[in-house]
Symmetry: C2
Subunit: 129 residues, 2 copies
DNA sequence: CTCAAAATAATAATGATTACTATTATTAGT
DNA sequence: ACTAATAATAGTAATCATTATTATTTTGAG
């Protein structure tokens, strides 16, 4: 894997913007620094960085994938009102692995949990109606 | 909501084929009985039936949604080798809800867990190499 | 410096799903 | 049963996120 300015800058963008950006958001942020960068490059590098263990790719059911620079075991909650993504510290892997093994002889390699609901801020806002 | 032959038959197809079919699989199965049915009708009715609580829609990260007629709380494991979907009896909701509430004041409405790994059958097959 | 390998920008293609539209089926009220 | 309002349909086009293609440019080892 060769060094490229683009990849380094993309990693920096994800690390500095802890907003769980989508590929498209990263693309928008990147164009401020490198106006000629292409969307394909952003996608390719986000995937490469994720494979390489530098960032995490968060698959979002019925939505764009998101990218996260926090690498500790945690899952994600998405507010269905404002769309913001929150981290929730939990390790489902250690929860699921023994269950899957015991009940189905299933050798778990990864799992993905997405939680939907209303965040505190939006719940507060809704009170005023 | 009016009665339609198509919707009734689609529900029957999902209920009888406990293979967690995708919309496209349902479409293929349906065309054997109703050759002129359209893919749009299949999608619309699967979504209607899911909203109505007759079936469950299982969002699959980076893949087609799947539909399930088993309505008890359970999650899904997908074999990355053969693609088969397995049910795993667990109620993450009751697991996640208190945690999300306590840590973030987040009001959870739903959550979706997908587990990836190798199923027993495929693991057995791989041994022979 | 040179040159092969890798990465890029730009664009086209893909796959899943939804939207649109003219036509047909269903059903409530006569 | 008849009819009008309305919901559902088939067929098609459009959308969205993502990946593939390709000709050109960058990178880094020798």
């Amino acid at each position: 894997m060769k060094y490229s300015k683009q990849r380094a800058e993309i990693l920096k963008t994800v690390t500095e913007n802890r907003i769980h950006p989508t590929a498209d958001t990263v693309y928008t942020l990147m164009r401020e620094k490198m106006p000629d960068i292409s969307l394909g490059t952003v996608y390719r590098n986000l995937n490469l960085l994720a494979e390489n263990g530098d960032i995490r790719k968060i698959p979002v059911p019925n939505g764009s994938d998101r990218f996260d620079s926090r690498m500790n075991p945690h899952e994600h909650m998405i507010c269905t009102e404002c769309g913001e993504v929150f981290d929730i510290d939990m390790d489902i892997m250690s929860n699921v692995k023994p269950l899957a093994d015991r009940e189905h002889n299933f050798d778990v390699s990864s799992c993905s949990l997405t939680v939907y609901g209303i965040c505190a801020k939006c719940a507060e806002k809704n009170k005023n109606y």
